[in-house]
């Protein structure tokens, strides 16, 4: 079996079309080629947010002569897992969720990394491969050299310089290393360790990992607040636009999740810092982003139910999962109907007008000559105000407070969280991470309380609707009742945890952290 790859890129000019590559490189090795070229079609797969790339993995689909193989490699080029992509006719159609892949070690290895995301082609190419064997004095193969002439077809059309891969045969690593050293020193040869995928994407003007749902822009603390806020909002608009296609095509549930987060961050930024934008801009666009947020809510709510469905069914004690199955069918039908509405909204002229006018408005805002306040000063004032409101509202909650007061506190926490995210790049990363972590712990508790409250009400509404439609047997309604009872228990648990979580959040050390962190940036 082969191991240990080293890759090189050849200066394509003047390379002969025959097998004489090594001779052309001036090496004095004994080698043999079969003279025939193989052509393979290749596609590299990853999630939209590059989860495999970020985990140091590369998934490649190669097809030749009717057979297709999936190969997962690690950072060092070593194969982690490989398996056929399924029999002809039953192969996944990309993009595809993991469940569409054949069961096997490759799918098992991918599952914890990929999660709910679909795998989609990030690049496609055709390769003409010449394989040469490097021989020792017994005419024994000690290494294989593959010359790969690759033509990229997606995301752009481009011919790449030939790539040369040296593969050692087991037990002959030293000889392969010597060969690789000779090649590395040869004229017209450069190191290609970054891999074929990165070379392919670079030829198309892209790089792996170029999408993230997080706010990645770096703000200058002294820059005018209006410029900083406009820059963040522009990045959020880019995130929305990047996800629209995936939402409309319904590739996976996370496109909608990222789109919604970008909309919510935008709405919070407009509410909490929109006053620094030129006159009337925030108030003009806030209703439109509310419309967009509302448009996405029903589908996302149903996605959350469907993603949690298996765990919900597995947690049944009195009822059986089979009795709950009509509820799943109902959720799936509702979701399909809601998704059609959502897709219509995202294809509407109202949406395209919103994005184009918003981009234009942000462009003019960024060109504003208003230099005060500075970004860090605005951030400090707004974060401290939002923090104070969370402390006041949370401190007023007692064991007998109405659920609405918990809901209001959750909203205040979200506002603080979004401010911390929007202005995050102004602060010391360690302090910022700690501040977000303390807030998140409180938010998780409030979220559990509120979500279980809402879901109980929704389950009642679903049950009523299913009865009207005559789609629910009694056993299903009873199973749904059991789920509602489970939600009530979870809500009670969240309520009992609230006091402790809030105490941690409101601790003097935590309060000092927010104050010191924001002051340090603003000074």
């Amino acid at each position: 079996m082969r191991n240990a790859l080293r890759e090189f890129v050849l200066d394509g000019s003047g390379m002969p079309e025959s097998d004489d590559y090594l001779v052309a490189l001036g090496t004095r090795l004994r080698w043999q080629g079969d003279g025939r070229a193989r052509t393979v079609r290749r596609a590299w797969l990853d999630t939209f947010d590059w989860r495999l790339y970020r985990a140091g993995l590369t998934l490649e689909l190669t097809s030749a002569r009717g057979a297709a193989e999936l190969t997962l490699t690690g950072r060092d080029g070593a194969v982690v897992a490989a398996q056929p992509a399924g029999a002809a006719g039953s192969r996944p159609r990309w993009p595809a969720l993991l469940a569409a892949l054949p069961v096997g070690p490759l799918r098992e290895r991918l599952a914890p990394v990929v999660g709910a995301r679909a795998l989609l082609p990030v690049a496609r190419a055709g390769s003409t491969l010449h394989e040469l064997r490097v021989l020792n004095s017994d005419d024994k193969t000690v290494a294989r050299v593959t010359v790969d002439r690759m033509c990229l077809s997606y995301p752009a059309r481009a011919a790449l310089p030939p790539r040369l891969t040296v593969t050692a045969l087991r037990g002959y690593q030293a000889q392969a290393d010597r060969l690789a050293d000779i090649l590395a020193a040869a004229r017209g040869v450069t190191d290609g360790a970054s891999g074929a995928l990165e070379a392919a994407l670079a030829a198309a003007g892209r790089q792996p990992g170029d999408y993230t749902g997080k706010i990645s822009i770096r703000l200058d603390p002294r820059s005018p607040a209006v410029t900083a806020v406009a820059a963040v909002l522009e990045q959020l608009l880019g995130t929305m636009e990047a996800n629209v296609g995936g939402v409309v095509r319904d590739i996976d549930s996370e496109f909608l999740h990222d789109l919604r987060i970008a909309v919510r961050r935008t709405r919070s930024a407009l509410k909490l810092a929109g006053d620094v934008l030129p006159d009337g801009l925030a108030s003009r666009f806030r209703p439109e982003f509310k419309w967009l947020g509302d448009l996405t809510t029903p589908t996302r709510d149903l996605d959350v139910y469907l993603m949690g469905y298996d765990a919900m069914a597995a947690g049944l004690v009195a009822a059986t999962p089979a009795e709950l199955a009509p509820f799943h069918d109902y959720l799936a039908r509702q979701r399909a109907a809601e998704h059609r509405q959502l897709a219509r909204g995202l294809r509407s002229s109202r949406f395209s007008r919103l994005t184009s006018e918003w981009r234009e408005a942000l462009g003019s805002a960024a060109a504003s000559r208003k230099t005060r306040p500075a970004a860090a000063q605005l951030a400090a004032r707004r974060i401290r105000r939002a923090h104070r409101r969370v402390l006041d509202d949370g401190g007023a909650i007692t064991a007998t407070s109405a659920p609405e007061s918990m809901h209001e506190l959750r909203k205040r926490c979200k506002e603080l969280r979004y401010l911390l995210e929007i202005f995050g790049s102004l602060y010391d990363p360690g302090e910022h991470w700690q501040a977000v972590r303390e807030l998140k712990s409180l938010q998780d508790c409030l979220g559990e309380f509120q979500d279980t409250e809402v879901q109980r009400g929704e389950i009642r509404a679903f049950a009523a609707q299913m009865m009207d439609e005559r789609t629910a047997p009694v056993s299903t309604l009873l199973a749904m009742g059991e789920i509602a009872a489970g939600l009530a228990e979870r809500q009670r648990q969240a309520r009992s945890e609230f006091a402790g979580r809030f105490r941690d959040f409101a601790s003097p050390a935590s309060q000092h952290r927010i104050r010191a962190m924001t002051e340090a940036a603003a000074s």
Partner: protein, 249 residues
């Protein structure tokens, strides 16, 4: 991981040619294959153009100071690796004798390779010794080449009887006629009659062909350099029988 061993007390009956060709065919089928050349004459090692040298020798492997893993060499063929012979293997009997539970030693040494290989072929030297006993215990399937004579059939019976006395796992025996000379009446008769009478004798017989002898000149399996020859076809039929007998899917 299935372990198949080619074994016969006699030399020159086609053990190595069988191990080399069947290992190649198994690798062609997509199995991850290791061939361990246990014969200090190193014929299988020579056929794969590998140098007959193992660091630390047989002593290092048997005493566990060197891992099998580090001694393995890739052959020129995909999915097919070789654990080469070494001249010190001539002392394997003495080394095994000094080891604990010598009859189980080879099986234990191969254990760590379980996840790496689907099929292991053991090519044994001609003898009846502690080494061959250890091979018989480690193997799931014994491939026994026979020259078609009455005496060789008697040897097969002795082997079967010896294995029947094993505690625990016993290898499945698949004997087959090898080096058949179609011009000899006795060869023809025995090779045609016996498979019908005994379930432990394969229907396939390997003829004595000069192309098989050519392997030592070409230094490659005949199934690789002349895949459409009648010799290669015979080995392919034998592999189909051996594969089914070994329970490989």
């Amino acid at each position: 991981m299935k372990i198949l061993a080619t074994y016969n007390i006699k030399g020159g009956v086609g053990k190595t040619a069988t191990a080399v060709n069947l290992a190649y065919l198994a690798a062609r089928n997509g199995y991850r294959v290791l061939l361990w050349d246990l014969d200090p004459q190193a014929a299988a090692t020579f056929l794969f153009r590998v140098r007959p040298r193992v660091k630390g020798g047989g002593k290092g492997l048997i005493q566990g100071t060197r891992s099998l893993d580090a001694a393995i060499k890739g052959t020129d063929y995909d999915h097919l690796d070789l654990l080469p012979a070494d001249f010190t293997y001539r002392n394997l009997d003495l080394l095994l004798d000094a080891a604990r539970k010598p009859a189980r030693k080879l099986g234990r040494l191969l254990g760590p390779l379980r996840s790496e290989y689907d099929v292991v072929f053991l090519d044994c030297p001609p003898s009846f010794s502690l080494l061959s006993e250890s091979v018989l215990h480690a193997a799931d399937t014994l491939l026994v080449p026979l020259i078609p004579t009455t005496l060789s059939v008697r040897t097969l019976d002795q082997l079967t009887e010896f294995i029947a006395g094993f505690d625990g796992q016993r290898p499945v025996i698949l004997a087959f006629f090898s080096m058949i000379d179609r011009r000899k009446r006795l060869h023809k008769e025995i090779a045609e009659q016996l498979p019908g009478q005994r379930s432990d004798v394969a229907a396939t017989a390997i003829p004595a062909l000069s192309l098989i002898e050519q392997m030592s000149v070409r230094r490659a399996p005949v199934t690789a350099f002349a895949p459409r020859s009648s010799a290669a076809r015979s080995y392919a039929q034998l592999w189909a029988e051996a594969r089914a007998r070994a329970g490989l899917s």
